[in-house]
Symmetry: C2
Subunit: 357 residues, 2 copies
């Protein structure tokens, strides 16, 4: 088999020559809305076709100073919730011809230091999820007009937009739900100590229960990892006076919690202990897991994030935005169910008790 020497890719000039027009005509043929006669346009497209021409996006980006690339900074990819976020984001961006430049960072660390140089890639926007921007990055982006949106993380930095689930409300409603279920001792497995998101959930959870005179809530950190959550749960179940209701700040940690409770301690869930998660990842709804959880729809978060990005790209002087996406408490099989307040909606059992509060 003959191996063709790697050839230079055809350029607009090549196409132009073949089609008997100028390079700029070719450029226009590929620019939506540009002024080209339909007939020559066809001729050019034909020529491009036979040459196998593909526009060089680097060159285009250099000329237009827009890349159609969005940077995605992410951590905790092993958490299926974030896998969902990536999928959703990728899908929605593809719909507008954009793509994702991926920056991962190991759990626990701050955003990938390489992210500091993300602007070198002339990205149109930056989406961060499960990580937060550094001040320096925020300033750089502000200066150069590149929007940053954080999904599922708050920020006090200037110029950073955020989209998140309703953390406070979720914490309270889960507390109310478990309280109504008549539990006696409550625990919370949070994420990273410095995750605003997780903290908000925990604070609201404990706040509700404290206000009702429940015994102090056991607050722990699972660091959003499987092992971290397992460890935390192992700890609280080993001691005396073990909790009979645990709220985990993510489904992923709840899975670990359930596994530890069942397989290491031989507990019945939800007979001996109730466990509630947060996110409603797809697995959570399957009978294999059947996790009671508070939903935070990834696709809705992503949708909002993209809306924000597009507004900000259109008018970079606009202020940063904050959005909250609603969720609800999905009643399934890992937590004891209160007598009242269960409503069926779209085939899912939802808790509506104590809604007024």
């Amino acid at each position: 088999m003959k191996r063709a020497a790697p050839r230079r890719a055809p350029t607009e000039s090549d196409v132009a020559e073949l089609a008997g027009v100028s390079q700029s005509a070719v450029s226009r043929a590929f620019t939506p809305g540009a002024s080209v006669a339909e007939t020559t346009r066809m001729r050019i497209l034909d020529a491009a076709q036979t040459l196998g021409y593909q526009p060089n996006l680097m060159a285009r980006s250099l000329a237009t100073s827009r890349s159609n690339i969005v940077a995605l900074a992410i951590s905790y990819l092993e958490n299926p919730f974030y896998a969902q976020v990536v999928n959703a984001l990728s899908d929605r961006l593809r719909a507008t011809g954009r793509h994702i430049l991926l920056f991962t960072s190991p759990p626990g660390e701050d955003a990938d230091p390489a992210l500091e140089r993300v602007l070198s890639y002339q990205v149109d926007a930056i989406v961060m999820t499960a990580t937060t921007a550094s001040l320096e990055l925020a300033l750089q982006c502000q200066k150069s007009g590149v929007p940053i949106v954080q999904i599922n993380r708050d920020s006090t930095l200037p110029g950073i937009s955020t989209v998140r689930g309703e953390n406070r409300r979720a914490g309270e409603r889960i507390a109310a739900f478990l309280y109504a279920g008549g539990h006696r001792r409550y625990a919370f497995v949070g994420g990273a100590p410095d995750s605003t998101t997780g903290r908000a959930r925990g604070a609201a959870f404990a706040g509700y229960l404290d206000a009702r005179g429940a015994p102090p809530v056991v607050m722990t950190h699972g660091h959003y990892t499987f092992d971290g959550a397992a460890q935390a749960v192992r700890g609280m179940l080993s001691g005396p006076d073990r909790p009979d209701a645990i709220f985990c700040a993510s489904d992923y940690m709840a899975f670990a919690a359930i596994g530890v409770a069942r397989r290491e301690f031989g507990l019945d869930v939800p007979g001996d202990i109730s466990i509630v998660g947060f996110d409603d990842v797809p697995e959570a709804g399957r009978t294999a897991y059947d996790l009671t959880t508070y939903s935070q729809p990834a696709s809705a978060l992503v949708e909002e994030a993209i809306k924000i990005i597009d507004l900000l790209i259109e008018d970079p002087t606009r202020r940063a935005m904050r959005r909250e996406v609603r969720g609800q408490l999905l009643v399934r099989g890992t937590a004891r169910v209160p007598k009242d307040g269960i409503v069926v909606e779209n085939d899912e059992r939802v808790w509506r008790g104590a809604e007024a509060e």
Copy 2:
């Protein structure tokens, strides 16, 4: 708060002016190994620093026709194994200053059609995992000298390199393991019908058992999805003559299988039924799951893939390569254990029985 109008980013010329040198000097200052006096280099770096200069990678890429971007085409991101692959790849690439341009495709579909235009981005290489390249893409890449490596998928297409776990051997060893464990009726939950990888595992599995006169192996497809696997297992457990040993072509599907067996059918795993997975994702090793599985180390796969890429980039005329990464049968708690052949290695129980075969 005053909002600075989005400013043009500083360029090499700006730095040059400030440092009192020519633009090319600045360029050289940022090019490793270029000829610049150390003192002026410092002066330039200083100037760059104060200006907040960052090289424009699009321009650099245009000039050098190399982008330091690797395209990653992926599917089934919800499978934690692939999350691992992404993480590993991202880490290893970052070590050499490269980044990932992400192309996802929905489960079941072929690679993202947008991938056909991936060459527009002047990527240095393409990594595909859980998907396979189209012929057209393969030819395009061959023509333009862009290496393609598929992780965990075989290919018969020209110019495509592959890296995979030892599918055949795994299938046989798992069969031998379960056979030695004295099971009576075997089943296989494969992936997508057209996944060469999954087929190889299943064929080797069934082949081994057939050769020993075991009853015909129940062959099903889980399509590599959680629901697909659950469905398949549900089917085989509902019928008469239910299997007492299931090999799932991925851990992710094994989790679904275990859930269905335990929670829908009230079966004891491994008392009533043995379930073995494939991949050894991190969760599999945790007591919460404790899955018996055959390992396929994501980091090793990625490492090989990158080696191949680098060789191919260095010399694009080189032939496509195929690599197989070894794994082993990790004996944990979801399958009945044969009397003999268990060896402890690095804190893991490994099966070494019938090794000769």
